[in-house]
Symmetry: C2
Subunit: 157 residues, 2 copies
DNA sequence: CTTGCTGCAAAAGGTTTGCAGCTCC
DNA sequence: GGAGCTGCAAACCTTTTGCAGCAAG
């Protein structure tokens, strides 16, 4: 878990990825998408906005929301949600599970081929009456024991 | 899945359950808790409010929110969240998984002892460095094939 | 040129909060 | 009688929307 993304994040490949998904290439989309790809912490729209704003003060929060929605629709990002709150995003669109720490509010990727095959095996055998399974995801909740490394990102609640 | 709750829902037992959890017994809490227990569809605060309002027009939405929060804190209810949106509630506090239909916005309980033991087995063997697993939950996404039975509850989106 | 994206500001939910009065214990 | 609930309304925050102007293809 927490490995770096295998996707190259130079603007040229991002441009190609956007246009191959039928999206117009704009500087805002490139920056937002790049920011998401460089984040391994499943940022919210607000967090992406704050990060980008440092270098691109004219960006607007509405654009971030719209772009995230567009990326999700295009299949270039996924929505993630925890037992607590807030919508957050993930550039890894392949199947994987998540670990959520309720103390620090961190979401970490949790990729384990063994678990994956256990679950796929189970679902291939299991029949659902009148229900088509499109996707499944395991969310592991718990607490990071390694204290003091991070502070809670959330604005209280 | 979709079995009726094993919890008795007469006011006397509800009173006892509330006070044994250190909560004052009020008519609003009894009604709200009873409504949640009788629901197998993981209602939102808004839905509970609408259901209750029919017979108890003086109830306020703020009370419903506060009471739900209180019940969750007391361990008498759980929060549930889907890949889409909205916070919803579940009176079943024991470990179980959920099935979510993105077409109708229904959340169904998904209790399978076989799956449960597979997962417990996996987690007992799996070690997490610096992470204490308190809970895990599988969310199955998909579509109900049995069309026409229900309409989407959600107010668009 | 035309489509569709951006920025702005206003609006729209859903949820929380402050407070006075009332209830339960 | 006092702690702690309730109802009401206002506030809050995140997200969405409408629209005029602008940029990409």
């Amino acid at each position: 878990m927490n490995q770096t993304s295998p996707i190259s994040i130079d603007f040229q490949s991002l441009k190609e990825r956007l246009s191959s998904h039928g999206l117009k290439v704009t500087s805002q989309r490139l920056i937002i998408y790049q920011c998401l790809l460089m984040s391994d912490d499943h940022p919210s729209a607000e967090i992406i906005f704050e990060k980008i704003r440092v270098d691109h003060p004219s960006i607007s929060i509405g654009t971030v929301y719209k772009t995230m929605e567009t990326l999700v629709e295009a299949g270039l990002a996924k929505k993630v949600k925890t037992a607590d709150d807030l919508l957050r995003f993930d550039a890894k669109t392949g199947h994987h599970n998540h670990i959520y720490c309720s103390n620090t509010d961190q979401i970490m990727d949790f990729d384990d081929p063994e678990l994956q095959s256990i679950l796929e095996d189970y679902f291939s055998k299991r029949e659902f009456k009148n229900f088509l399974v499109t996707d499944f995801q395991l969310l592991v909740n718990g607490e990071i024991l390694d204290k003091g490394k991070r502070i809670k990102l959330k604005q209280s609640k």
